[in-house]
Symmetry: C2
Subunit: 306 residues, 2 copies
């Protein structure tokens, strides 16, 4: 059922070289095409709307769930609601990439609305890679909405990467952290040509001892445009740190609007943002080692987005 294009897309967005060992659910062109569950991780098709419920039993350790989505046709408008129940004291990895291969002149679009309940003491690592390609003039559009409720003592690590080739994206991430909950977000984003990317990340530090660290790095090339919004709200004796760096090239534009709101005298919030071009010293150094300007640039950008 999966052809070589499908396999290439699955490798790119979800590091799936073969069927993974754990649970998985592959969605292709708006339909579930393969699914595997384990004793500890169940996947159920939603009855009221498109999407799945992923249920991780309490105390499940060292397991993974792959839920990649691929679109290989034009003129698709795929909307999916996925709900994740990450049981108490479990420790799992969720891999949720999306790739669009569009050779047509009509747009292809995927909107994924993911809701996570990360229960007390659980640890979850979530990896999401977005990727677009294809020869057509039709746009490749990805609009993820991610909502996380992180309970007491739970830890969440989010790794969100837009590799390349996505013409338009509107990313919306909302996270609420309970007592001693811990969050680490790593965002990487590249745009080129006439592409547009918006990323909103809102983190509420609601419980005492909660902490959040957000590191966002982006590269804007061509005529592309990027808009970042961060909203870090301290409602408790908590700590939050946002760091965002962008490299701007050609005629690209980057707008960064972070907001830090301290509503508790023991909230400690820090934000740092920088936008600039590639440092010329770095370029010169690499070029003196025999690289062309293009190769030197690519090396620097690769390191930056690593």
């Amino acid at each position: 059922m999966l052809n070589s294009l499908d396999k290439h897309m699955l490798e790119t967005v979800a590091d799936m070289h073969q069927a993974p060992l754990g649970a998985f659910n592959i969605r292709k062109n708006g339909q579930g095409v393969q699914r595997q569950t384990t004793e500890n991780i169940d996947i159920l098709t939603k009855l009221d709307k498109p999407g799945i419920d992923v249920i991780v039993k309490p105390y499940t350790k060292g397991e993974s769930v792959h839920i990649p989505v691929i679109l290989t046709e034009e003129n698709l408008n795929d909307l999916v609601y996925n709900t994740f129940e990450i049981g108490e004291y479990s420790d799992v990895v969720v891999i949720a990439g999306c790739g669009i291969h569009n050779n047509g002149s009509c747009n292809s679009r995927h909107d994924g609305i993911h809701t996570f309940n990360v229960r007390k003491g659980a640890k979850m690592r979530y990896v999401e890679k977005h990727f677009g390609e294809g020869e057509g003039t039709g746009s490749r559009i990805l609009n993820p909405k991610t909502i996380l409720e992180v309970e007491e003592d739970a830890t969440v690590e989010l790794e969100m990467v837009q590799i390349r080739g996505v013409d338009s994206t509107k990313r919306d991430t909302e996270i609420r952290l309970g007592k001693n909950a811990k969050l680490i977000i790593t965002e990487r984003l590249l745009t080129d040509e006439e592409q547009w990317a918006e990323s909103k990340i809102s983190v509420e530090l609601n419980g005492d001892g909660a902490s959040a660290q957000i590191i966002s790095r982006s590269v804007a090339q061509g005529h592309s445009k990027q808009d970042f919004y961060f909203d870090l709200i301290g409602r408790s004796a908590s700590r939050g740190h946002v760091q965002c760096d962008s490299i701007i090239m050609h005629d690209a534009q980057v707008f960064s609007t972070p907001r830090i709101s301290a509503q508790h005298s023991e909230a400690q919030l820090i934000h740092e943002a920088a936008i600039g071009r590639i440092e010329s010293e770095q370029l010169i150094k690499l070029m003196s080692m025999g690289l062309s300007e293009k190769e030197a640039e690519d090396t620097i950008l690769k390191g930056f987005l690593k």
Copy 2:
């Protein structure tokens, strides 16, 4: 014409212990009460609306203009438009404080709209201190709007301080920088009790070689609330740096929303913000030297807002 209360207010907001040597214009309770001009600095009363035109001749060096405003009565609603023409290659200091002493139960309010044209190669230092006091329940309200057009090779230094006692303030500062123009802003702000302060600073780096450095420090005490907005826009090969730090105490709240927008690939923009309480190590150190907790706090805050 100036009584001892007036003199105390003038000292506090404009460091005027006696009539200054340079040009000045003192406004009291909505009316001009004293004025002095010099050969190089003229002050004219506007004919179409309340306010003055301050005209500094090109090449004027080492002179100052004091234009303090004091309100010592309740139930005032003073609105004034001041325009400043800072001539080419001049080098001047403008001191523009405002103090409100309100013993009544009605509000007293001053809205100052200042427009500056800082001409080619000119240097201007602008100092503005805001202060409120009085036993009454009437609010002390100060809403300054400051617009600066800074031409090629000109340098502007703004020192804007809200000392204390201002119940409500809405500060709006808009600056456009030409080629090689240079801007340094130092903002200091303290609120207490039920006070509210909003400060918006927008800087457009329009000319190549323009640079801006903004350092904002605030202390929020009691139940007070502070809202900061920064908007740094790079439209040229330019550099901008915003740094804002707030100390939050008691039940105060601080919201900081900086925005950096790079619209040119050689714009380099940096933002840093931090909100937190007084560091306990600093407190303990000072208390071990014999200071009470209150004294230690005051010492730290004074240093921070210096």
